[in-house]
Structures are given as structure tokens and as C-alpha cells.
Amino acid sequence: MLKRMIFTLIFLVSACVTVNIYFPAAAVERAADQIVKETWGGPAKPATPVPQPQSRSLFSPNRFLALSFVSEAFAQDADINVTNPAIRALKDSIKKRSDAIKPYMDRGNIGIAQDGLLAIRSADGLNLKERAEANQLIDAENKDREALYAEIAKANGIPKENIPKIKSIFAKSWIEQAQPGWWIQSNGNWQKK
């Protein structure tokens, strides 16, 4: 009898176990839109509705972070911090470089890859000096973008494992705010926006 009661109690408690997965996706999306707009001057985007934090069962493969028993604590989805000296310096660096990159984007030499990083799409019409410049710009820009994602994670206490999520959200913003006529990579193929 006692065993049955204990078992029932354990079952009831475990049935109430809730895992809050808190990755501030909506806040990162807003931050990404804002940063992309500030640095590359993309078109303004209407504010996205604030979604509720996702909740998954204990046995979901995607679980991590907080475990809470019985009561489910919803994380606040306030804006994340996107200003500190490191982030400002990276944004400034990206912004300053954008004027040099945009002519290559306009001509279709540089495109935005699926991961939001820049890549050479076509070297047509470029002399070797311009190709070297395009390679240097891409290399410096991609390093800054990766560093920016890492700094945003650090500033907001987001675990390092989630940096790819930030990168993926930013990729969406870089692509959405790309100017018409720029080349975007989708499923391995380049398409003109």
C-alpha cells in the first residue's frame, strides 16, 4: 500500500515536471532587425508580436536550462541588451565597411549565404585587385558578424551552444533586409531578391 502511494506521488510529481526552454528568440529577432537596419540601413520592419516562451516535456530532445517542478515560470521576453562597448565597436566596424561591400552586392559579385554570412557569388567583371578586395571584405565582415553574435550571447548570458541560434536569426534578418537585386543563397542555389 505504502509502495503504491509513493509510486502514485512520484507519478503525480513527475507528471507536473515542466521544462522551460528559454532562448529569447523574439528578443533576438528584434535585436537582429535593429542591428541590421542600423549597420546596413535596410528597410524598417514592423514590430513582431511577442511570443510566449516555449514549453516542452522533460523528454523533449531540445530541452535545456531550467527545470521547474509544478509551477511553470514563464521567462520574460524583454528586449535583450545590444549595447555595450564591444557590440558598439563591432556594429561601427560593420557599418563602416558596408559602403565598401554594397557596390559588390549591387553587381552580384557578393551574395548573402544561407547562414547570413557573405560569400563570393560570381567573380564576373572583377579584376584581380577587386577580387582580392572582395575576399578581404568578406573575411573581415564575416569575422565581425561571428564576433557580434558571440558578444550578444555573452552580454545576455546566453550559453555558447546557442550562438548558432543567434546566427540563424540574424541570417533571416540579413536576408529579409537585403536590398532588391542582391543575391541570396537558398538551398545551395543563388537567387536574386
Binding site: 541588451n81 549595447t83 558598439r88 577580387r131 582580392a132 575576399n135 564576433a147
Partner: protein
């Protein structure tokens, strides 16, 4: 077709399309015949597995004077020559023009001398990341084949008057460098050995390098035994040509740097391509490192360095005692500060760059001594280094002037027993002690994250004791506050020359000395904490008083992500007291009601108090 079968490989595998004409004139006695003629071809096309030639024109006068065949001043012009395919390295030339003379004597080496000129030359790697275009090469050559030794001798001097090179991020326009290659070399087919009697590579703005020696297993697994030397290598030219233009987008600082001096070296290079060992000596004369325009400058630098390095692989452990060289810096200048002659012993052995003796630098009225400075593997991992440092009585007024800070007074003394690279961070232990503002500031847990990137971050803790507030407020033109300040600043991180985070607890301590605060200082604290000026209020009071007694002042603050949280030295409910007046009237308190301040707002307030004219009473 029959003629083709007589040709050696690979010529017999190519297809030829075109017409040729041979004019032959034979005269003389039967037993002393002389043959003279000319072979001509025009518009011939050649195709092979890897080779294509659109148009070959040939005019080859020949002569047979028993027993010698002589081809004199043969003229060959080939248009649109291509070699290779998409999956391999490709090379092409728009036009190749050659003139050659050949003597063919039975059982004697064959010698061909002539001149080669190529325009519109280009090459490409299979992935297209390495390209050359518009090459114009011109030069004299000599070819010898020795049937007895089974060797081919190559000699010549070639100059590239034009050409553009792309190698990943590196681009070079060779027009400015006019590369010249001089070659005297032999290839022994049976031994698969390449002997370089003398090879010289020269770039106008960098200098020249002579190479001699041999390469065994030349076509299979090359094993080098070479000597290289240069007497006029210009590091400044190399920096401009190779480094600056390739990396300035990533490190904009490179655009401000210039290098000077002349380098000479001689070395032996031996080993296979996976583990080459290079050993020799290098010397630098009149070296200079300078930040433009009118920034810091180090030089003249003189260096004599025996070296032994391994690359690209890791070095083998060696028990041999490294040879020691000397580095001498005659002068260095940082702002208004000059540093006198510095000399240091130096060794580069087994890839470890070591300064075995302490380096003493007399600067800022004191001395900095750096000991045990070493890079364990400067070739493969140049960011890893370690050293210890000791600072003795550096004058802070000199230091602050050089750094364009407000003029601090005091001295800086400290010892850092070890600075060491851990991943991307330079970590230290030990403590730097600054005798500052009549008290002491101890700096510990000093770290530099990403020290070699454009976004380095400095992290440290600071402990303050016995700081004379009067000296502080005078230095920073913050009115006048008398008293003693103590406290700590923890986890201070400075990124991009700005504080990006800290936790501070600074407060006055009553040591029985006078504790007064001027009206100007009160106003500035008010502006800093609230953003609003209380000038009118203080002006009213100041009509009667210059300053007020206080019993406590201070704050607890933390900064993270551009948000400053400011709390007082004392709290009552939601009131945070930054200044608590004395019990005796007139009593003035400064109470803060807003604890969170955005960094941009803080900067605005600092700007405001900086621009406010001090009220002199």
C-alpha cells in the same frame, strides 16, 4: 603522320594541323656535302590532352656542316597557348615569341640559346582562389642536354614587366616590383635531382635572395639541401607588399604602421617539405617601426640573431645550447616620452624566441624590467608568450601626459611575476601598486582578452586605500572635496577604450581629517547622479558658504551592458545618499532617486559637467 611517329613523347601524342615547307640547298663534294635550308610553318594548330595551341608560326634556318647540325636564329611565334584543364592548375599565354639557336654535334651536349618573350600570361588554381593575369615575361635562356650525364641544364634571366597576382586575400601588381629571376640549374634525370648552382630572385622594392644547393627526389618527394642569402632585404617593402594590403581590412591599424631598415641573412634549409629546418644568421640595420602620422616611433633598431627554426611541422626536441644574439634599440618615443638605448640578448632556436636576460627600459622617470620573455613556438603559434614584469617608481604625471589623460600625480610600482597566454587571453598574477593621490591603488587579476585582435578587452580588479580626495578633485577639476576615499572596483572590463563592466564600492573614511565639499563639487555630483543641475539652489546657498561639512560620501555602482546602477553610501527607503551632510548645520545631503542610468546618459552628464564652468568662490 609518318613524321609524327618519329618524334619523342609527348610530341608524338599530339595532333598537328597545318602546312610546313622546307627549302633545302645541298652542295659540295659527295664526301664533304654541305646542307643549308630553312623550315617554315604558318598557322599550325597543335592539340594534346593538356595542351592547345591556336597558331604556330616557325621559321628555322638550318645548316649541316659535317658533323654539326646548326639551327640559327629560329623564330617561333605561338598564339593562344593553353595548358592544363579545369580540374588542375591551368596556364595560358596570348602570345609566346622565341628566337633560338641550336648546335647539334654527335655525342656532344645539345645547346640551345635564345630569347623568350611571353605576353598575356595567366594561370589559375583548380578552385580559382589563386590566379595570375596579364603577365609579360621577357628574358634570355640557355638549355643544355647532356646525353652522357642524362641531364638538362637551364640558365637564363627573366623579368616580369607586368603581371597581377591573386593568392586568396593577397593581391600584387608586379609592375611596381619588376620581379627578376636568374637561374643556373641542372636536372639529372636518372638521379631525379635538381641542382641549383645559382638562383636569384629579385623584387625592386623588397630586395634580392640568392639560393643555391640541391633538391633530391625532385619529382617525387623533394628533399631540400639549400643555402639562401640576402644582403639587402627590405622588411618595409615586404610589409607593404605582402602584409598591409592583405590584412588592413581586418586590422585597420596596419594602415598606420610603417617599417624601415635593411635585413641581411644567410641560412641553410634542409629536410623534406613536411619538416624543413632552417638555420643561419640574420642581421637588421637601421630598423624602425613607426605609427603614422606622428605617432610613436621605435628605432633605430639593430639586430644580430642566430636562428634555427622548423616549419611547417613542430620542432624536434634538441639539447643543443641555443646561440645568443643581440637586439639594440637606440631610441623609442611615445608621445612626449623618449626612451634611451635598450639592449637585450635574444635567441631563436627550436622555434622558441627567448630573451634570456632581463630587458630594462627607463621610461616615465622610472624603470620597467621585463624578464623571462619567451615565445615557445613563434613559428606555429606566435600568440603564445610568457614574461614577468616589474615597474619601479614610474612617474604618473609623465605617464598620464603620454596617454593624454588628466595629469595624475604619484608613482606606479608593481610586480607581475607571470604573464602567460591561456587560449586567447593574456593572464597575469601578482599585483601592480600605484602610489596615487596620496594613497594606494592596487591592481590585480589583470587579464587581456584577445590581445592581438582589434577588440582587445582589459580586465582587472582595483583596491583603493588612503586616497586624498582633494588631490583627486583637483586633478579632474571636480570642485573641491577634502577627505579620504577607500574601496574597490571589481571585474572592471575595458573594451574599445571604454569601461564595459565593473562593480564599484567607493566611500569616504573618517580618519579625523577635514571632510568638506565645495558647492561646485556638490553641483557636479548632482548632475552626475540626476542629470539635472542644482546650480540655482547651490548658488543661493553658496552666497553664504563656499563649502559644507559632510559625514560620509560615496557610492556603490555597477555597470553592465551600458546600464549603470548607482546606489548611495547610505540608504533610507528608496533614497540613496551619495553625500550625507554633517550633523552641524548647514547640512547638505545629495539623495539619488534614480538608480539606473543608461551609459549614453552618463556620457551626456559627464560632458555636461566637463563643459560647466567652475564656480570660483
Amino acid at each position: 603522320m609518318k613524321l609524327k611517329t618519329l618524334l619523342p613523347s609527348p610530341f608524338n601524342q599530339w595532333s598537328y594541323q597545318g602546312r610546313g615547307r622546307v627549302e633545302v640547298e645541298v652542295h659540295g663534294a659527295w664526301n664533304a656535302l654541305a646542307v643549308k635550308g630553312v623550315a617554315r610553318s604558318n598557322g599550325t594548330q597543335i592539340r594534346g590532352a593538356d595542351l592547345a595551341l591556336e597558331n604556330l608560326s616557325l621559321s628555322a634556318p638550318f645548316e649541316w656542316l659535317r658533323p654539326t647540325w646548326r639551327v640559327g636564329e629560329a623564330q617561333l611565334t605561338a598564339l593562344k597557348l593553353t595548358y592544363g584543364d579545369k580540374n588542375r592548375w591551368q596556364a595560358a599565354a596570348e602570345r609566346v615569341q622565341a628566337s633560338a639557336t641550336m648546335d647539334l654535334v654527335p655525342d656532344q651536349p645539345v645547346k640551345i640559346t635564345g630569347r623568350l618573350k611571353s605576353t598575356g600570361g595567366k594561370f589559375a588554381s583548380p578552385d580559382g582562389s589563386k590566379l595570375g593575369e596579364n603577365f609579360a615575361v621577357d628574358g634570355d635562356f640557355e638549355l643544355r642536354t647532356d646525353p652522357v650525364k642524362h641531364s638538362i641544364g637551364v640558365g637564363g634571366k627573366f623579368r616580369a614587366d607586368a603581371g597581377e597576382l591573386l593568392w586568396g586575400k593577397f593581391f600584387a601588381d608586379l609592375k611596381m616590383q619588376q620581379p627578376v629571376i636568374e637561374l643556373q640549374a641542372d636536372y639529372f634525370r636518372d638521379l631525379d635531382r635538381f641542382d641549383c648552382r645559382r638562383c636569384n630572385f629579385n623584387l625592386t622594392k623588397i630586395g634580392s635572395v640568392d639560393v643555391s644547393g640541391s633538391v633530391e627526389g625532385f619529382s617525387q618527394s623533394p628533399k631540400l639541401r639549400l643555402q639562401a642569402r640576402s644582403a639587402n632585404f627590405l622588411p618595409g617593402g615586404f610589409y607593404e607588399f605582402v602584409l598591409r594590403s592583405s590584412f588592413n581590412r581586418e586590422y585597420p591599424l596596419l594602415d598606420k604602421l610603417t617599417l624601415g631598415g635593411e635585413l641581411a641573412f644567410q641560412c641553410q634549409i634542409h629536410g623534406d617539405l613536411q619538416s624543413l629546418i632552417t638555420e643561419g644568421d640574420l642581421s637588421l640595420k637601421a630598423g624602425e617601426l613607426r605609427e603614422q602620422p606622428e605617432g610613436w616611433q621605435i628605432g633605430p633598431i639593430t639586430l644580430n640573431l642566430p636562428f634555427q627554426i622548423s616549419w611547417p611541422g613542430s620542432p624536434q626536441t634538441s639539447s643543443a645550447k641555443p646561440q645568443i644574439g643581440v637586439l639594440a634599440i637606440e631610441q623609442a618615443r611615445f608621445g612626449s616620452q623618449s626612451v634611451g638605448r635598450i639592449t637585450a640578448a635574444i635567441s631563436l632556436s627550436n622555434n622558441a624566441l627567448i630573451f634570456p636576460q632581463p630587458i630594462q627600459v627607463d621610461i616615465f622617470g622610472g624603470t620597467i624590467e621585463i624578464s623571462a620573455l619567451r615565445w615557445p613556438d613563434v613559428i606555429n603559434d606566435p600568440k603564445q608568450l610568457s614574461f614577468s614584469a616589474e615597474m619601479k617608481r614610474l612617474q604618473l604625471d609623465d605617464l598620464s601626459r603620454a596617454l593624454h589623460w588628466p595629469p595624475f600625480s604619484g608613482t606606479l610600482t608593481g610586480s607581475i611575476p607571470q604573464v602567460q597566454s591561456v587560449g586567447n587571453t593574456l593572464q597575469t598574477n601578482g599585483e601592480i601598486k600605484a602610489e596615487l593621490f596620496g594613497g594606494q591603488v592596487r591592481l590585480g587579476k589583470l587579464e587581456i582578452e584577445n590581445p592581438f585582435s582589434s577588440l582587445a578587452a582589459i580586465r582587472l580588479d582595483a583596491r583603493l586605500s588612503g586616497i586624498d580626495l582633494e588631490q583627486v578633485t583637483k586633478t579632474f577639476s571636480f570642485g573641491r572635496i577634502s577627505g579620504i576615499l577607500e574601496g574597490s572596483i571589481d571585474d572592471l572590463v575595458i573594451t574599445d577604450k571604454q569601461p564595459s563592466q565593473f562593480r564599484a564600492d567607493l566611500h569616504s573614511v573618517d580618519r579625523g581629517t577635514e571632510q568638506r565639499i565645495s558647492v561646485e563639487a556638490l553641483n557636479k555630483i548632482t548632475v552626475l547622479s540626476s542629470g539635472a543641475s542644482a546650480g540655482a539652489l547651490y548658488s543661493g546657498l553658496a552666497g553664504f558658504f563656499d563649502s559644507f561639512r559632510y559625514s560620509k560620501l560615496g557610492f556603490k555602482a555597477s555597470l553592465k551592458n551600458d546600464r549603470l546602477t548607482l546606489r548611495g553610501v547610505e540608504s533610507q527607503g528608496d533614497q540613496e545618499f551619495l553625500v550625507v551632510g554633517s550633523f552641524l548645520p548647514p547640512r547638505v545631503n545629495i539623495v539619488s532617486h534614480t538608480q539606473n542610468i543608461a551609459f549614453s546618459e552618463l556620457l551626456r552628464r559627464l560632458q555636461q559637467i566637463k563643459s560647466d564652468k567652475p564656480e570660483t568662490k
